[in-house]
Structure formats: C-alpha cells, structure tokens
Homo-oligomer: 240 residues x 2
DNA sequence: TAGTGGTCTAGACCACTTT
DNA sequence: AAGTGGTCTAGACCACTAT
C-alpha cells in the first residue's frame, strides 16, 4: 500500500516532534514526486491524516501539522497508568483480589456463558503519587482470555494486557455519581464517604464481550476531561 | 459536488428506514451508471458513508447498511431535551435566572473580554416527567451572541439556540462527582444532598469561546452513557 | 466465473491563497 | 502568476466473495 507508506513516513515526522505544530507538510505534488506515485495517491495519505486530525489543510495555502488541542477525542479508551505517567506522576497498583468466581446470571448472559460458569475477577487499586485515585473492579471472559489470572498486574494494567491479547472492536461506557460502598471506601483508603465518579466500561472483540470493568474514582481526587473538534463529516451527519 | 449528491440520496434511503440494517447498497459501478459519474466519484460517496459508520463494506461481497449499534459515538454534544424526548418522556424547563452579570476575571480572560465586562448568565432547571434531572448554569459571550437574553428558553434550550446562531467548532468537557451546593440543591428540588454528576462544557466557534455551561445532575436520576466502535483509522493512529 | 471493493495512474479544470 | 487543495474522469490490475 503506497499511500500507507507515505502516511507512516509523515506520522514519524509529527510524532517525533521533528515537525512541530503548524509546520508545513509537503504538498500533494511534492509527495507524489518524492515517493514516485500519482498525485491521487499522495492526496489520499494527506486526506486520511486530515480526517484523523493530525494535519490541517487549507485550499490555496497548503497542509500543516495540526495544533495539539485538536487531536484528541473525548473518552477514547483510557489507561489510568498512562494518564498518570503523562502528568509526570508516580503510578503504582495494588492487587486486592485476583480469583475466579461464579458469574452472576446477568453477566453470564452478557458473556454468552452458561449459567453458573466461572469467570475471572480482579480488583486493583491504582495510586497516583501514593494517593488512591481509582479502584478497578473487573470481570473477564475466561474463554477469550484464558491466561488472565497468571498476569502480574502490578507491572502492567489489565487494560494494557487485554489490548495486547484481544483486538477490541467496541466499547460502551456508563458514567454516574455515587457514594462508595464500605468495601470500595476501604480499597480507596477514604476516611469518610464522598461522592465518587463511577465508570462502567464493557469491551467487545469480534468474538464477543471480553470484559466488564467498574472504575470508581473519589470525586475530590479525579476529574475526567476531554476535548473534541467537529469536522465536516460530523456536521453533515444526520442525527438518526 | 456530485459525490455529495449521491451521499444525500443514500442518507435518505437509510434514514427513512426504506433500507433497513444489512440491506444491500448499490455497488460502485451501479451508482456510477445511475448518477452518470465515474466510478471513483461513486466510490467516494460510499467510502465516506463507511467512514461515518452508516454502511459496512466487504471486498468481494458488497456494501450494506450498517447495524444500528455501530453508528453512534460517545459523548457527542448532547441536548438534554432531545435525550428526554428520545426516551418518550416529557421535558419541561424552568428559567431560574436570566440576567447579565460582571464576568469573573478568569471567565473574562477565556472569553477575551476586558476585566469587569458584563456577560449573559442563565440558570435553567430541566425536568423529565416532572422530576428535576439537570440544572444548567451557563455564561454566554455577549459579543458573539448579542440576543441571548431575548430568547424564551422554555420553548427551546440554550444549546439548541447556540447551535443555530453559531457554528460550533470545538468543545471541551470536564466531568466530576460532587456534592451540590445549597443553591443547586434548591434548583434541583433535592430534599437531601446526594452525589451529583457535574459536567463543565465549554464551546468555541472560529471567532472565540462562545459559552461555558456547568450541568449538574443528581446521581440517583441521571447516568451518562455512550458507545463507541473502533475503525481501522483509529487503530492505526499513534497514541501521541 | 462474474461481480465486488481496494488500490493506483495520468491526466484535467476549478477556486482559492500567497507572493 | 504560481502554487495549493478540491473535484472529477476513464481507464487499469488485483484479491476477494458468491454462485
């Protein structure tokens, strides 16, 4: 795939910081010549980078590396450890539970397992600079992820592991504000109950549902942020 | 734009339900002939519909209307009134405040107004089947939206009005769990304090920041949900 | 085997921005 | 005036799916 080769080449320039924000990107004609392809092929590479928000194109002016703020979408699947490291803070995890349990009827149905089947269950507290910011209570499909219990989740998070072994194709989220249960309060090392942001996340692969996680964050220590830009496509899209 | 004409034609078939899920869509060659365009142009229409998640394409097999579940993205800008109506519930709004106030220093800076400038301020409670589910506390840029105070926000929400008069290009969100202030508690008709999901949303147009809204929802009456699918592009995208 | 989508070419005309 | 991106054409070859 020639257009992908061009894309990868441009990715590297942008990702490495060699081309900072607003740096001009070679024009369609230049790229076509450099890579010995037709202009339509070079154009496709630039167009896809534009769709992904990495570059901004202006008719008559040229193509430029996009300002960072327009790059990220809201609530892409997040990994708490990455986020903490991104803030240059220390992350560590404590595994509270790692076991197999009988699945509740609703969960068994979701995972397409027979009633009474056993599923993997983990509870992990995540710390940012020594302070508990999330307790992750997760159930995992043993058919799709047989080796889940053998992992060392102080070294890498369940999310990282699941992304490696299964290509996620879908996810759903539910966010609500709750008071923590007594058990959650202990896991979060909260002296007093306080409002918590609770995210339930389910992920799917092509073969079925992989995992359900309930992530509980103390309201005083955690905030979920996001930024989005609207591109032409989203604007034309009917609401349905 | 010929490709857009084809897209609009296909939108109508899908949106109206004339073509249900999995219904076959005309092939590139058929569309090219029907609309008297080259295959590349017909292809572009189908490709964009595919990028938007409205159709699914399989090499060798054809193009088909996508199953509904793969259509919606997470946390697109939401309108509380639409959501309530979508659930077939009754919505009504009570305007608690509609005034101009001196902007706080931070807000004035964000809106690129001089310190001490006045901004529009509205507080509106939204009800679902007679129960308060959101209090919307909003500040609006008077330069970009001069007629804000003249609107009747029991008839249409500020969000609807702002979308009409300004083409939004960007938005940021912050979500947290909090206890409501006494004033919020009154506006939400809460007998007792309870955890609330609070969303701060800022929106921009090309000329600058339009509005800041703080949306507070009682945890017991509101849950934020979302669904997302991962397409090829997102998977190839480097994390940055 | 016929039809489909995926990729690619080598041109073309246009509207727009920059110089 | 020169260069840019936006659109479009009329071909082509390939890998894949359905029959």
């Amino acid at each position: 795939m020639k257009y992908d080769h061009i894309k990868q080449s441009l990715y590297r320039k942008i990702e490495s910081g060699e081309w900072p924000e607003h740096h001009p990107v070679s024009s369609e004609n230049k790229l076509a010549e450099e890579f010995s392809v037709s202009r339509m092929t070079a154009r496709r590479a630039l167009q896809e980078l534009s769709d992904e928000g990495l570059v901004v194109r202006t008719r008559g002016a040229g193509t430029f590396v996009a300002p960072l703020k327009s790059q990220s979408a809201l609530l892409t699947i997040r990994n708490i450890a990455d986020e903490i490291r991104l803030r240059k803070h220390r992350h560590h995890a404590v595994v509270q539970l790692l076991e197999d349990v009988v699945a509740e009827p609703g969960l068994a149905t979701l995972l397409q397992l027979p009633q009474g089947a056993r599923v993997w269950h983990s509870v992990i507290t995540h710390f940012e600079n020594g302070q508990a910011v999330q307790v992750e209570d997760r159930y995992v499909n043993p058919v799709l992820v047989p080796d889940y219990l053998k992992q060392d989740f102080t070294a890498h998070t369940p999310h990282e592991y699941l992304c490696e072994v299964t290509p996620l194709t879908e996810a759903s989220h539910q966010i609500e504000a709750v008071l923590p249960s007594k058990q959650q309060q202990i896991w979060l090392e909260l002296a007093m109950p306080e409002p918590c942001l609770q995210i339930q996340r389910r992920t799917w692969t092509r073969e079925g549902m992989v995992s359900q996680a309930v992530l509980t964050h103390p309201g005083s220590r955690f905030r979920l942020g996001g930024h989005m830009t609207f591109n032409k496509k989203q604007q034309n899209k009917p609401s349905l």
